[in-house]
């Protein structure tokens, strides 16, 4: 399966802020386990959506130099409500600091303008060649994959379709 928790990047202020969205569908298999009688997006995937949205700020700003952008620390992820199939999650993440190797964000998840989750995130940015110069080709492959995905999420709407996000 795809491990992509942001369907579309709606706004991106370079190095500053991102707004992304994720539409939840009952067709997503894991909802059958979480939970059969009450399908909702698992809380950790709300966080994953916030991490992925934030990582686009890092990649875009550093021109995809780090091949891996991963979670180093999450603080006080507070859940207030659930995301159910048929609903649209909007993730807003504001960059607090952005260094070559590390960045920090304050992120919120909203449904219909109402906040359902918030968190502080610290991301680590790595390249495999820093561990082993022989792995530089792997870095390049990872960068290319991320560039392709970024293009899909940021500009991937059919021409003639308005750039507006669907109404939450």
């Amino acid at each position: 399966m795809k491990f992509v928790l942001i369907d579309r990047i709606v706004e991106l202020e370079p190095g500053q802020r991102v707004v992304g969205c994720k539409a939840l569908s009952l067709a997503e298999e894991y909802l059958a386990d979480h939970f059969p009688a009450f399908p909702v997006l698992p809380g950790v995937l709300l966080m994953e959506a916030m991490v992925q949205a934030s990582a686009w700020v890092v990649r875009q700003h550093l021109d995809f130099a780090p091949s891996l952008v991963v979670l180093k620390e999450a603080r006080n992820i507070t859940y207030k409500s659930f995301l159910a199939p048929g609903q649209l999650l909007t993730v807003e993440s504001e960059c607090k600091s952005l260094e070559p190797g590390e960045s920090s964000f304050v992120a919120h998840g909203l449904v219909g303008g109402k906040e359902i989750v918030k968190s502080r995130l610290t991301l680590r940015h790595l390249s495999l060649a820093d561990q082993d110069p022989e792995l530089a080709d792997l870095d390049e492959r990872l960068r290319n994959e991320q560039r392709k995905l970024f293009k899909l999420l940021w500009q991937g709407r059919p021409s003639g379709v308005a750039a507006d996000a669907p109404v939450g």
């Binding site: 603080r75 006080n76 507070t78 859940y79 207030k80 502080r120």
Partner: protein, 132 residues
């Protein structure tokens, strides 16, 4: 056990709030309201209670800090607002808080707005006095 000065209690409460709410130290003043100024959610209040218990070695029951039993008592609540009997019960239950503002608009959904950092400090102060 020697009594702990209020400033020292405040510092420990401040530390618990900084950690539980990801706020800056200077935001945590005596007057700051928990749900308003510091944007605490109800689950944060539970987190804070557990932190205070650990930090001060005290036991806090749920009802002491958030008066759930008062709010869920049908005799006290009319149309999601506390009536006079309810307000009296509330003042007896939580004497440390300043209820004057809440009494003007006793909407039970706004009850947490009353709790300030100072309320928590006074609450801990009285708990520590009890255990002495």
């Amino acid at each position: 056990m020697a009594t702990m000065p209020r400033e020292q209690i405040f510092e420990k409460v401040q530390q618990a709030l900084v950690e539980a709410l990801s706020v800056e130290e200077d935001e945590v003043t005596e007057e700051a309201t928990l749900t308003g100024d510091l944007q605490a959610e109800s689950i944060d209040i539970l987190d804070i209670v557990f932190r205070l218990e650990k930090s001060f070695s005290i036991k806090i029951s749920q009802e002491e800090l958030t008066p759930r039993d008062v709010l869920s008592n049908a005799d006290y609540v009319t149309d999601r607002r506390l009536n006079d009997v309810g307000l009296k019960a509330l003042r007896e239950r939580i004497p440390h808080a300043d209820w004057s503002k809440f009494e003007q608009d006793p909407d039970i959904d706004k009850i947490l707005d009353v709790f300030t950092v100072g309320t928590i400090v006074s609450f801990v102060e009285s708990k520590l006095a009890e255990s002495n």
